[in-house]
């Protein structure tokens, strides 16, 4: 048994899992507050990463400015998307809602390929050193930064929902739209805000992943890979999304490890989470932390 490889893979899994957790959190946030399942989550990452890349390459901004610019862009983008496309979908059956976001996903994926091409592009060098050595493990700087950013985002989420007025309004809306509207909360504003937050936070994740692997349309796969994570945690639990994200991140790396060492079937990294997903749905139909629907007539 190759322990060095195993620990390296587990650490990688934890780091990637935190990112899954962040993306899953955005997914859950949108689902909880607007009842919309966002199949276009991966495209948020993609668009954010490309916008940041374009602002660094074409506008030649310093990294920090470009980063802020793309976050602002994504916030506006999220609000506009919600207003134009998703507001008419309120109250429609679930299949329509799913299909609208799938349509968005196809559209933006093709649009990005059309504008920026299909070959991966790398960001200009941001850090001086590529990777550092912690306790004998090689960790890339960008990954380290992503961990810090992911943890920061999680803390910010916690503070926002616990202690701010808007966060409270969003929680109230998630609990009951009609009651919160009658108490003077602008549900429209809450919807717009949750899309804006989801778009910016996913864009951050997209930029971080883009810095490690380069930007290409394969980033949008992250939007699909996050499904096992959110299902594992239960669709409407933010804590569940984080736990699920980390679990899936570690699990796919473990699958990769056992595959490369013993099984040699290949492609386990991508496919193992989906097997886990099916098995979980067999035994716990609402995930580990999700609320059970109790139905009455």
């Amino acid at each position: 048994m190759n322990f060095e490889l195993l620990t390296q893979l587990i650490v990688n899994g934890l780091i990637v899992g935190l990112l899954y957790g962040v993306i899953g959190m955005c997914f859950v946030l949108v689902y909880k507050s607007t009842q919309i399942v966002n199949f276009a989550q991966g495209e948020f990452l993609l668009i954010g990463a490309w916008v940041c890349w374009a602002s660094l390459i074409y506008l030649e901004l310093p990294f920090f400015l470009g980063f802020i610019l793309s976050l602002c862009f994504m916030a506006a983008f999220g609000v506009l998307l919600q207003m134009i496309v998703l507001r008419p979908m309120i109250g429609e059956p679930i299949i329509s809602v799913i299909m609208v976001t799938i349509g968005l996903s196809i559209f933006f994926q093709a649009l990005m390929k059309w504008i920026f091409g299909v070959s991966p592009q790398s960001y200009p060098q941001v850090f001086d050193t590529q990777s550092i050595n912690i306790l004998g493990l090689n960790i890339e700087m960008a990954y380290l930064m992503s961990t810090v950013i992911a943890l920061l985002i999680m803390v910010a989420f916690y503070l926002f929902f616990k202690h701010s007025k808007h966060g409270l309004a969003m929680r109230a809306t998630a609990f009951d739209q009609q009651v919160s509207q009658s108490l003077g909360i602008s549900v429209k504003q809450v919807f717009a805000m949750s899309w804006a937050i989801a778009a910016t936070v996913s864009a951050t994740a997209g930029i971080v992943i883009g810095m490690v692997n380069g930007v290409s349309d394969s980033l949008s796969i992250m939007g699909i890979k996050v499904f096992p994570a959110v299902i594992l945690g239960g669709l409407d639990s933010i804590v569940g999304a984080i736990v699920g994200g980390i679990t899936i991140g570690v699990l796919e790396n473990l699958a990769e490890f056992f595959d490369s060492q013993y099984l040699h079937v290949g492609n386990m990294y991508d496919i193992a989470p989906f097997y886990v997903l099916l098995i979980i749905l067999w035994f716990k139909p609402y995930g580990l932390f999700g609320t059970k629907d109790i139905e009455r007539i």
Partner: protein, 357 residues
């Protein structure tokens, strides 16, 4: 979802026979029969290129009808239909090459095999619904796709597998014109079967499960049985469609059966109209002709002076993809009940013309 099949007022039936007919009026029956007869003579009348499109409409239409039975009639969601379509294609080719079963028997057998696989993956559907089901079927799409790439004994791995043309009593249907009749026959057969299924007890049970599953269960409709059955029927249709596809092209490779294909099937039934057999066909025709129209549009643009923009001409593949996305969004926002509903409205407009009511 119940409003999708709501009939306009003034549509009174006084007997079970009226309620159970396939064709609501005599005109519809004659129009259908004449259309099928006219389609029989299509190879004599239209260009060979349109025959290939009609064949495409046939095999996609069969698979899309299956999806509509699942999504439109039973109210379940499936994001894995493209994979089942592919499974049917591979299964038929595999049965033919490994066991030397005649091809015309392979096609229904492939349908039954796909039905088994579909029921296996649909089994969680007995317990989960809505979103969770959507994501479970998404997982099945990826797992089956992975299986295609891995199982070389079944699919030939990355090389793909060959499928022989259909032959019956020594006559090989290996040209487009001859295969067209096979495709047309299968389409008509499967659609009549679909219509009849929807008139039967099982069909009514599907609709009951969709409209209010708790009430349905109280009335004695076994929920688990019908959800599973619906998955089975839908995969059977997908398998038949896939098998026809395989024997038409003569070659199956795993690349085509991605999530994109599943989404296209969903787009077809949403554009056509969920819970409408006629709408399914309309949606398929729309989706088959959409890329053709775009292509000729770009072709026309090329001829004008300002049209030769390299970005547009080179990006045709992306424009086609974007158009699919836009069409899905547009239909869901502006015409969520699909072309079938629009057709009814147009018909009603002329029926009552010039008085709106």
């Amino acid at each position: 979802m119940s409003s999708l099949t709501m009939r306009p007022c003034g549509d009174f039936r006084t007997s079970y026979k009226q309620d159970n007919t396939i064709f609501e009026t005599k005109t519809i029956r004659w129009v259908t029969i004449f259309t099928i007869l006219a389609l029989c003579f299509a190879p004599l009348l239209v260009d060979a290129y349109y025959i290939t499109l009609l064949i495409q409409i046939s095999y996609l239409g069969i698979a899309a009808l299956g999806l509509n039975i699942l999504v439109g009639y039973t109210g379940q969601i499936s994001l894995g239909h493209g994979a089942f379509f592919g499974f049917g294609a591979f299964a038929s080719a595999w049965l033919n090459t490994s066991f030397h079963i005649p091809v015309f028997l392979c096609i229904p057998l492939a349908g039954f095999l796909t039905m088994g696989v579909g029921m296996m993956f649909g089994a969680p559907a007995a317990r989960i619904k809505g979103l969770y089901l959507a994501i479970a079927t998404l997982a099945s799409q990826f797992i089956i796709e992975d299986f295609f790439a891995r199982a070389e004994w079944f699919s030939g791995g990355s090389a793909g597998s060959m499928a022989e043309p259909i032959s019956l009593f020594g006559f090989a249907f290996d040209t487009d014109e001859s295969f067209y009749y096979v495709a047309l026959f299968s389409l008509v057969f499967m659609f009549i079967w679909g219509c009849n299924l929807m008139r039967s007890r099982d069909g009514r049970a599907f609709v009951a499960v969709r409209d209010h599953y708790l009430s349905a269960e109280i009335m004695g409709v076994k929920l688990n049985k019908y959800r599973l059955l619906s998955f089975g029927v839908s995969s059977f249709y997908a398998g038949i469609g896939g098998a026809l596809y395989a024997h038409y092209l003569g070659y199956v490779s795993a690349e085509g059966f991605t999530i994109m294909m599943s989404i296209q099937f969903l787009a077809m039934i949403i554009i056509g109209g969920l819970g409408s057999i006629k709408g399914t066909l309309m949606g398929v025709i729309f989706m088959v002709f959409l890329p053709e129209v775009l292509e000729s549009g770009v072709g026309l643009m090329k001829m004008t002076d300002w049209g030769n923009i390299p970005m547009v001409v080179d990006g045709l593949a992306y424009i086609k993809e974007m158009a699919i996305g836009l069409v899905i969004i547009g239909f869901l926002i502006f015409e969520p009940e699909g072309l079938a509903h629009r057709w009814t409205q147009i018909k009603n407009y002329w029926k009552f013309y010039p008085f709106a009511y």
